[in-house]
């Protein structure tokens, strides 16, 4: 009778991992919600400069993005000079007017005066290019601009 009695082991029972999926799912949902898919694939290097007197851009849908910088590794054929990128392709300074017009046409009319142009420019680009962009923006009367920067000290860490 006592032949088949189970041996009692002295070891501690294993910790239940049944709640592990729940924890992981919680993290997963957080990242899924927090993720913003990039709208544009960058063809240029875009290492933003640092500044500490920054203001937040609050209305994301009222922002037009202009990127500028050196073409990145995969797009070496475009040279090593800093270039402008509008939407998904490299552009010239003269294309900015058309780009702004297209962006404005896509928005409701009453929102057009609140449009801001965000300049996302690589920290190693030179000011000649920025000056040209600004001149072009003045021509089409897009006067509200924002130099997008990372938050940090300007003197480096």
């Amino acid at each position: 009778m006592s032949k088949f009695k189970k041996k009692k082991s002295g070891a501690l029972p294993a910790i239940s991992t049944a709640s592990l999926p729940d924890i992981v799912f919680m993290l997963l949902f957080f990242f899924m919600v927090a993720t913003v898919m990039r709208e544009n694939t960058l063809m240029i290097e875009n290492n933003l400069p640092f500044a500490d007197q920054v203001e937040k851009l609050d209305k994301k849908d009222l922002v037009m993005y202009i990127y500028a910088g050196k073409p990145s590794e995969n797009f070496k054929q475009y040279g090593t000079e800093a270039r402008i990128q509008l939407n998904d392709k490299l552009a010239d300074v003269s294309d900015i007017a058309a780009f702004i017009a297209a962006e404005r046409a896509a928005k409701r009319e009453e929102l057009v005066p609140f449009l801001t142009t965000a300049l996302k420019v690589d920290s190693d680009a030179n000011m000649g290019l920025i000056g040209d962009i600004k001149q072009e923006l003045r021509k089409v009367n897009a006067l509200k601009i924002n130099y997008t920067t990372k938050k940090g000290s300007v003197f480096g860490r």
Binding site: P49, A51, E55, K56, N141
Partner: protein, 195 residues
Amino acid sequence: MAKRAAPEVNAGSMADIAFLLLIFFLVTTTIEVDSGINRKLPPMEESDEDVVIKQKNIFTVLLNGKDQLLVEDELMELKDLRAAAKEFLDNGGDGSCSYCKGKKDPKSSDNPDKAIISLKNERETTYKTYIAVQNELVAAYNELRDRRAQELYRKSFTEMQANYKDVNWPGNKDKLKEKIDQIKLEYPQKLSEVQ
């Protein structure tokens, strides 16, 4: 025959699947930067009339192609620029500015309303340096405004602006707007860029 319960599905691999998804999202997440320095460009005007501004009311900042800084015809390090700009703006030379705490030097600016900072850069200047200079100049204005706001309302200017933008702020927004405009009037941001 005895009734048999359906066997339970093993959920042990659920964690693995969830981890896989989690790692995918972790890797693909890019936190977009959405803050920066706001500026307003001057409108295009074809007017030829020249406004006469006294030389002493202009604070010239020059950035050359080698990222060197020339302020009022003297070489200057970036770290000294903020203090120099503050001193210039806060000078109050003609005595009409009751809240200025500067030296009242007759050779420097008359009052904050007349004081203009003029920034000129060359085509070869790097963007990083330009932003650093912009940042320091904006900081000079902000520090003066902060000081004035502390005196008048016991609150910093940046805090007031944050409150004004905050939807959940319980106070009276119209009054706050008035206060902000008052300070902006006392220290107007006059930063001109030469093309």
